[in-house]
C-alpha cells in the first residue's frame, strides 16, 4: 500500500495534468472540475500515507541511478502540506483566471509542478531530489511567465536563468559527492562529515549543492530573481512559489545539513551567515517596498532566513539541538500556511483593483471584514505575536540561539558574535512588524484620497469558494498558535527523525515570561521603526494634503542590475566573443594564407565578416571552385604520401 501511495503521489499529477489539458480543449468547466478533483485526491492520498510510514518505493534504472522514495514523518507532513495548499490555491485559481487566456497551459503546468514538488519532498536520495528539482524549475517557470507581460517575460527569464545556473552548480556538487561516497542515499550519508578526515572536498561539494537549493529558497545572494518573479506571477502561483516551492529549496538544504553535515559546526556557521544576511536583507527590502506583493515577497525571503537560522543552529548545537530542530521545522510549516493566506488575499485585492501599488489600493480593505480577518491573522502570525503560530516557531529558534550562547566552550569573542546574531534576529522580527503594519495601515486604516467611495461600494469583491478558502487558510493560524503543546509539538516530534534530531529534555513553556520577552522586544522595535522611519522617511506629503508611499530603495543597490546582469550579460560575453573571434579568425586566416600560397596568386582581398557568425570569406567565390579543390586535395594527399615514403626510407 505504501509503495503504491508513494508512486501515486508523484506520478498521478503528471497523468492528471495531461488529462486536464486534453479535457480543457473540449470543456473549460470539465477541466476545472477535473483539476480540483485531482488535487483533492492527491490530498487524500497524502493523508493516507500516514498509515504506511516507513514504506519506500524505488524505480531502479530510471535515468541511470534510479528513483527512490520513502515515507517518514517529515515527508508525510510536507506531502500533506503541499497537497493542502495546492488544493486551496487551485480552488481560488478558478476565480482569479476567470477572464485570462492560456488557462489550459497554466493548469497543465500547475499539476506537473505538483507532481515534481511531491517528488522532491518524498525523495530519499539526492539524485531523485535533483531530478524532480530540475523538472520543477522548468514547469514552474511557465507559471511565472503566464501573464506574458514585458515584466513577466523579464522576471521569468531571470527565474529560469538563475534556476538553470543553480541546478547545474548543484549537479557539479553531486558529481563531487558521488565520486567521494559512491552513493547519494540520504540515510547512507548521515554523519559523513564527522567520519571523514579530509573534509575539504566534502565542503566544496556541500557548497556547490547549496547553491542550487539556495536559489530556490531565495537565499542571499541568490535571491535576485525572487522579488520580481513573485510580483510578476499570477497570485495563486505566487502563493505556491512562496509557500511550497521555496520550501523545496529548504528541503534540499536540510537534506544536506542534517545528513552530510550533521552536527558540523563550521557548516553551521556558514549557513548562519547566509541565513542572517537573507533574514535582514529581506526584511529591509520589505520595509522599503511600496508594493503590496513585493512587500510580501521580500517578507518570504526574510522568513526563509529565519528558517535557515534554525537550520544553522541545528548544526551548531550538535547533540542538544532539539529546540532548533523543532523551531526550523515549525517555522517552515507556519510560513507556508501564513503566506498562502496572505498571497491569496493579495490576489483578491489585485483582482478588484488591478494593482498592487500601496498608494492606489489604500483604503480598499475598509468595511470588508473577511479580507481584514485574513490579513490580520496572517500578519499576527508572521510577526510572531503570542497566541498565533509564528510566535511558537520564532520562540523556539530564538531560544536555540540563546541556548548556544549560554553553552559551555564559547570564547568571549564568539559569545559576542552570537549575541549580535540574536539581536539581528530580534531586529528582523521588529522589521517584520514594521512592514506588516505598513501594509495593514495602508489597506485597512487609511482612506483613499480619490477612490474611497467606490472602494466602499465594492461589496461583492470575492466569490464564495474563494471566500471559504481564504477563511479556512486564515483560521488555521490562531488555532495552531493557541494549542502549541497539542498540535505544534506533535508535528515537530513527527518530523524529528528526518533531521536526525534529539527529543527535547522537557516540554517548552511557550508562554513563560522569558519567552514572551523576545516577542515583546521585537514588537517594540517594530513600532519604533514604523513610527520613526517608515512614516517620516518613506512617506511624503502630496500637494493635496494626503500622504503617499515612496519607493526610496536606490536602484544601484540592486544586485541583479548592479552586478549579475552586467557581469553575465556584458563582460563575460564580451570576453567570450573576443576569444571566439580570435580563435575563429586564426584558422580562417591560416586557410586564406594557404590558399594564397598554393594557388600561386596574389592574396585575395579578405573582408571582415558580413555573415552571422564569425567567418572570413573571400570577396567572391573562386571561379573554378571544384577543379581547384580537387587539385588541392590531391596535392595534400601527395604530400602526405611522400612524407610517409621518406619516413619509411630513412627510419
Amino acid at each position: 500500500m505504501g509503495k503504491f501511495l508513494l508512486a501515486f503521489l508523484v506520478f498521478f499529477p503528471f497523468a492528471a495534468a495531461l488529462a486536464g489539458y486534453l479535457t480543457g480543449r473540449r470543456s473549460k468547466a470539465g477541466r476545472d472540475a477535473l483539476v480540483q478533483a485531482s488535487c483533492l485526491l492527491e490530498l487524500l492520498a497524502a493523508l493516507g500515507l500516514a498509515g504506511s510510514l516507513g514504506a519506500s518505493f524505488s524505480w531502479e534504472g530510471f535515468c541511470g541511478l534510479g528513483l527512490h522514495f520513502a515515507a517518514d514523518g517529515f515527508r508525510l507532513t510536507m506531502a500533506v502540506l503541499t497537497a493542502f495548499i495546492w488544493l486551496l490555491t487551485t480552488i481560488s485559481s478558478k476565480e482569479y483566471f476567470a477572464a485570462a487566456h492560456n488557462r489550459n497551459r497554466y493548469y497543465l503546468f500547475l499539476l506537473m509542478t505538483l507532481g515534481s514538488t511531491m517528488g522532491i519532498f518524498l525523495s530519499s536520495d539526492l539524485y531523485t531530489t535533483f531530478v524532480f528539482f530540475e523538472v520543477m524549475s522548468f514547469t514552474s517557470w511557465v507559471m511565472v511567465a503566464q501573464e506574458e507581460t514585458p515584466d513577466a517575460k523579464k522576471a521569468s527569464g531571470t527565474y529560469l536563468g538563475v534556476a538553470v545556473l543553480g541546478g547545474l552548480v548543484t549537479l557539479m556538487g553531486l558529481f563531487l559527492l558521488y565520486s567521494r561516497t559512491g552513493t547519494l542515499e540520504m540515510s547512507a550519508l548521515t554523519g559523513l562529515a564527522a567520519q571523514t578526515a579530509d573534509k575539504g572536498p566534502l565542503y566544496a561539494a556541500g557548497v556547490l549543492i547549496l547553491v542550487g537549493f539556495g536559489v530556490k529558497a531565495g537565499m542571499y545572494p541568490l535571491h535576485i530573481w525572487l522579488p520580481d518573479s513573485y510580483v510578476a506571477a499570477p497570485a495563486p502561483a505566487t502563493a505556491l512559489l512562496s509557500a511550497v516551492l521555496s520550501k523545496a529549496g529548504v528541503f534540499g538544504i536540510l537534506a544536506v545539513s542534517c545528513n552530510i553535515f550533521l552536527h558540523d559546526a563550521p557548516w553551521g556557521d556558514l549557513i548562519l551567515v547566509l541565513a542572517v544576511l537573507t533574514m535582514v536583507t529581506g526584511a529591509v527590502l520589505a520595509v522599503f517596498s511600496a508594493n503590496l506583493k513585493r512587500t510580501l515577497a521580500c517578507s518570504s525571503m526574510s522568513q526563509i532566513g529565519f528558517i535557515l537560522v534554525g537550520v544553522a543552529m541545528q548544526c551548531l548545537l550538535g547533540e542538544e539541538n532539539a529546540l532548533a530542530v523543532g523551531g526550523s521545522m515549525l517555522h517552515l510549516l507556519n510560513h507556508s500556511l501564513i503566506k498562502t493566506a496572505l498571497f491569496m488575499a493579495a490576489g483578491v485585492v489585485f483582482l478588484n483593483l488591478g494593482t498592487f501599488d500601496l498608494n492606489r489600493l489604500r483604503g480598499f480593505g475598509r468595511k470588508k471584514p473577511l479580507l481584514m480577518f485574513v490579513f490580520l491573522m496572517g500578519i499576527l502570525g508572521v510577526t510572531g505575536v503570542p497566541l498565533w503560530n509564528g510566535y511558537v516557531s520564532k520562540t523556539l529558534i530564538h531560544e536555540s540561539i540563546v541556548e548556544y550562547i549560554a553553552a559551555a566552550g564559547l570564547s568571549a569573542g564568539q559569545a559576542a558574535y552570537y549575541r549580535w546574531v540574536e539581536w539581528l534576529f530580534l531586529i528582523s522580527g521588529g522589521l517584520t512588524v514594521a512592514y506588516m503594519t505598513k501594509i495593514f495601515v495602508a489597506l485597512f486604516v487609511e482612506k483613499n484620497p480619490t477612490e474611497q467611495q467606490r472602494y466602499d461600494g465594492m461589496k461583492r469583491y470575492v466569490s464564495r469558494p474563494t471566500a471559504v478558502v481564504l477563511a479556512v487558510s486564515a483560521a488555521i493560524l490562531p488555532v495552531l498558535g493557541m494549542t502549541p503543546g497539542l498540535t505544534m509539538d506533535s508535528i515537530a516530534g513527527l518530523c524529528r527523525g528526518f533531521m536526525n534530531g534529539e527529543a527535547p529534555a522537557h516540554a517548552v513553556e511557550y508562554f513563560s515570561l522569558t519567552n514572551l520577552k523576545g516577542a515583546a522586544i521585537s514588537i517594540a522595535i517594530g513600532a519604533a521603526v514604523y513610527l520613526l522611519l517608515v512614516r517620516p522617511l518613506l512617506m511624503k506629503k502630496q500637494p493635496d494634503g494626503s500622504w503617499a508611499y515612496l519607493d526610496r530603495w536606490p536602484r544601484w543597490l540592486n544586485l541583479e542590475y548592479g552586478l549579475y546582469r552586467p557581469v553575465l550579460l556584458k563582460i563575460l560575453p564580451f570576453l567570450g566573443a573576443l576569444a571566439a573571434r580570435f580563435a575563429c579568425s586564426l584558422v580562417d586566416w591560416a586557410v586564406a594564407g594557404l590558399r594564397a600560397l598554393l594557388f600561386w596568386k596574389a592574396p585575395e582581398k579578405v573582408e571582415p565578416p558580413t555573415d552571422d557568425y564569425f567567418g572570413v570569406y573571400p570577396e567572391r567565390p573562386h571561379p573554378h571552385t571544384i577543379s581547384n579543390s580537387l587539385a588541392y586535395s590531391l596535392l595534400l594527399f601527395g604530400i602526405g604520401l611522400s612524407i610517409t615514403l621518406l619516413y619509411l626510407l630513412f627510419c
Binding site: 531530478v131 529560469l160 549537479l171 558521488y178 571552385t625 586535395s633
Partner: protein
C-alpha cells in the same frame, strides 16, 4: 550465420543507389517505392545481422601480407549499425516530402542510398585499412549531397568539406602507416595492437601518430579547429543536415576515433600521456567553443550545426577519458544526441519547408501555429539541455561522473566545461522555445496565420522520434549495461 552476409547491407545499397541514378525515374511514385524498398531492405538486413551477430570476419579482398579488406561485427559495430539503421528509414520518409521543394530528387536519392551502404561499411570494418577505405568513400558519396543545390553557397560549402576531409585523410594515412610498421596487425582488437615489446623506444612517436590520426578523424567529428566545414555545410538540404551532419557522417568520425583509441593504439599506451592531454584539451575547447558559437548564431540550422560541434565533443571527451566509464558515457551520448539532434533538424526543416523562415527571431508565435513541429522541438531541446528525466541528463550524468572518477585536473576542467556548456545549451535552445510559445503582448496572430504543420509524411517522423526519445530516456538501463560490456571488452 555465415559471415559473408556482412557484405549484403554494404553492397546492396551501393548497387541500388547506382541503379537509381542510372534508371533516372520519371515518376515520383516509382522512385519513392524503389528508394523506400532499398532503404528498408538494407536496414532490415543490417539489423538482422546485428541480432544474429556472425562471429567470424569476412575477407573480401586480400592484398597480400598483412593488408586485407575485411568485415567483422563486434559490440561497437552493432551499436553504430543499429543506430543508423533505425534512423535512416525515418529520415528517408521525411525526405520524400521535404525534397519536393529542393528538386533534382533522382540525383539526391541515388547518393542518399549509396551513403547508407558506405556508413554500414564503416560500422562493419574489421581493420584500419577497411575503415580508411569506407571513410574516404563517405567523403566522396556525401559531397554531391552537400552541394545539392549547386548555387554559390553550396559549391563553397562542398569545396570546404572536400578540402577539410581530404586533408584529414592524409593525416589518417600517416597514422595508419605507423600502425602497419609497429603493430602486430591492423585488426581492431579491444586493448590495441601495440604491445609494449614491439614499440619499446618509440612510444612518443606512436603517441604523435595517434594525435595526428585523431586530428584526421577529428575533421569529420568536427573537433576544433577542424570544425569549419560543418556550419558551412548546413546549406545542404535539411535531411542531409539532419541525418549526415548530425548522425551518420560526424558520428562516423567519432566511431573511427573510438576504434583508433581503444582498438588500435590502445589506452595502455596513451593514458596519462601528453597525447591524451592534448586530445582531451581539444575536446574541452570544442565543447565550450561550439556552444558559445551556437548562442551567437541567429540562423537556426547553423545554430544547430554549432550545437552538433559542441555535442560531438561531449562524446569525444568521454572517449578521451580512456576509462570504461568514460567510453560508456560517450556511447550513451552518441545514441541520445543522434535521436535528439535529428529531431531538432527535422523541426528546423519543417519550418523552412513550410514558411522559408530560417532565423531564430522569425519564429515568434510558432508554438501555436505548428504544434507538432514545435512540440517535438521543445521536448528535444529539453532533452539536449539535460533536463531530467530526459535523455541528455543521463548521458551528461554518466560523462560527468566518469570525468570526476578519472580525477585528473583536466578531467575536472572537462566536467566544468560540460556544466558551462549545458548552461549555454539552455540559453541557445530556450531562446527559440520562448520565442515560439511566449511571443508576448502585442504579438499579432496574423503574422503566423498561414503557418501550419506539414503533412503526415513529415509529421510521423516526429512522433516516432519523440517516442524513441522517451523510451530511451526512461529505460536507459539496458543501454547502459550493453555499453558497459562493450567498454569492458566483453562484446
Amino acid at each position: 550465420m555465415n559471415s559473408a552476409w556482412l557484405l549484403l547491407p554494404v553492397l546492396f545499397p551501393l548497387l541500388a543507389g547506382a541503379a537509381e541514378l542510372l534508371l533516372n525515374f520519371k515518376s515520383r511514385r516509382a522512385r519513392e517505392v524503389f528508394v523506400a524498398v532499398s532503404v528498408l531492405l538494407t536496414a532490415a538486413a543490417a539489423l538482422t545481422l546485428v541480432v544474429f551477430a556472425p562471429r567470424d570476419s569476412f575477407v573480401f579482398l586480400d592484398l597480400g601480407g598483412r593488408l586485407s579488406f575485411a568485415l567483422r561485427l563486434d559490440g561497437l559495430s552493432m551499436v553504430f549499425a543499429a543506430m543508423v539503421s533505425v534512423l535512416w528509414p525515418i529520415a528517408t520518409f521525411y525526405s520524400f516530402e521535404y525534397m519536393k521543394h529542393e528538386g533534382r530528387e533522382n540525383k539526391f536519392f541515388g547518393w542518399f542510398v549509396m551513403t547508407f551502404g558506405v556508413v554500414i561499411g564503416i560500422a562493419f570494418s574489421a581493420n584500419m585499412l577497411t575503415l580508411y577505405l569506407f571513410y574516404e568513400l563517405l567523403t566522396l558519396a556525401t559531397l554531391p549531397l552537400v552541394m545539392h543545390s549547386m548555387d554559390e553557397k553550396a559549391l563553397y560549402a562542398g569545396k570546404k568539406y572536400l578540402l577539410y576531409s581530404m586533408s584529414g585523410a592524409a593525416l589518417v594515412f600517416i597514422g595508419m602507416v605507423l600502425l602497419m610498421r609497429y603493430g602486430s596487425s591492423l585488426d581492431f582488437v579491444m586493448g590495441g595492437v601495440l604491445p609494449a615489446s614491439r614499440i619499446r623506444g618509440n612510444e612518443d612517436l606512436m603517441r604523435l601518430g595517434y594525435v595526428l590520426t585523431f586530428l584526421g578523424f577529428g575533421v569529420k567529428a568536427a573537433v576544433f579547429p577542424l570544425h569549419g566545414w560543418l556550419p558551412s555545410a548546413s546549406v545542404a538540404p535539411t535531411p542531409v543536415s539532419a541525418l549526415l551532419h548530425a548522425v551518420a557522417v560526424v558520428k562516423a568520425g567519432v566511431f573511427a576515433i573510438i576504434r583508433l583509441t581503444y582498438y588500435s593504439y590502445g589506452t595502455e599506451l596513451l593514458r596519462g600521456s601528453w597525447a591524451q592531454n592534448t586530445v582531451m584539451l581539444l575536446t574541452i575547447v570544442t565543447i565550450l567553443f561550439g556552444s558559445a558559437m551556437a548562442l551567437r548564431t541567429p540562423h537556426l540550422k547553423r545554430r544547430l550545426a554549432y550545437s552538433t560541434v559542441s555535442n560531438l565533443s561531449y562524446i569525444l571527451f568521454g572517449v578521451t577519458l580512456m576509462t570504461t566509464a568514460g567510453l560508456t558515457g560517450g556511447l550513451l551520448h552518441m545514441i541520445f544526441h543522434a535521436v535528439i539532434k535529428i529531431t531538432l533538424f527535422f523541426a528546423a526543416g519543417s519550418i523552412l519547408y513550410k514558411t522559408h523562415r530560417e532565423y531564430v527571431y522569425e519564429l515568434e508565435g510558432f508554438g501555436r501555429a505548428m504544434p507538432v513541429t514545435m512540440g517535438a522541438f521543445t521536448i528535444a531541446s529539453l532533452a539536449l539541455m539535460g533536463i531530467p528525466p530526459l535523455a541528455g541528463f543521463t548521458s551528461k550524468w554518466s560523462l560527468g561522473a566518469a570525468a570526476v572518477e578519472a580525477g585528473t585536473p583536466l578531467a575536472w576542467a572537462g566536467a566544468g566545461a560540460l556544466i558551462v556548456s549545458a548552461l549555454l545549451t539552455a540559453l541557445y535552445l530556450m531562446q527559440v522555445v520562448v520565442k515560439a510559445y511566449f511571443p508576448g503582448k502585442g504579438f499579432s496572430r496574423d503574422s503566423v496565420k498561414d503557418v501550419t504543420d506539414p503533412n503526415g509524411l513529415m509529421k510521423t517522423p516526429f512522433v516516432l522520434l519523440i517516442l524513441l526519445l522517451l523510451l530511451l530516456s526512461l529505460y536507459p538501463a539496458p543501454l547502459l549495461r550493453l555499453f558497459g560490456w562493450i567498454a569492458g571488452g566483453i562484446l
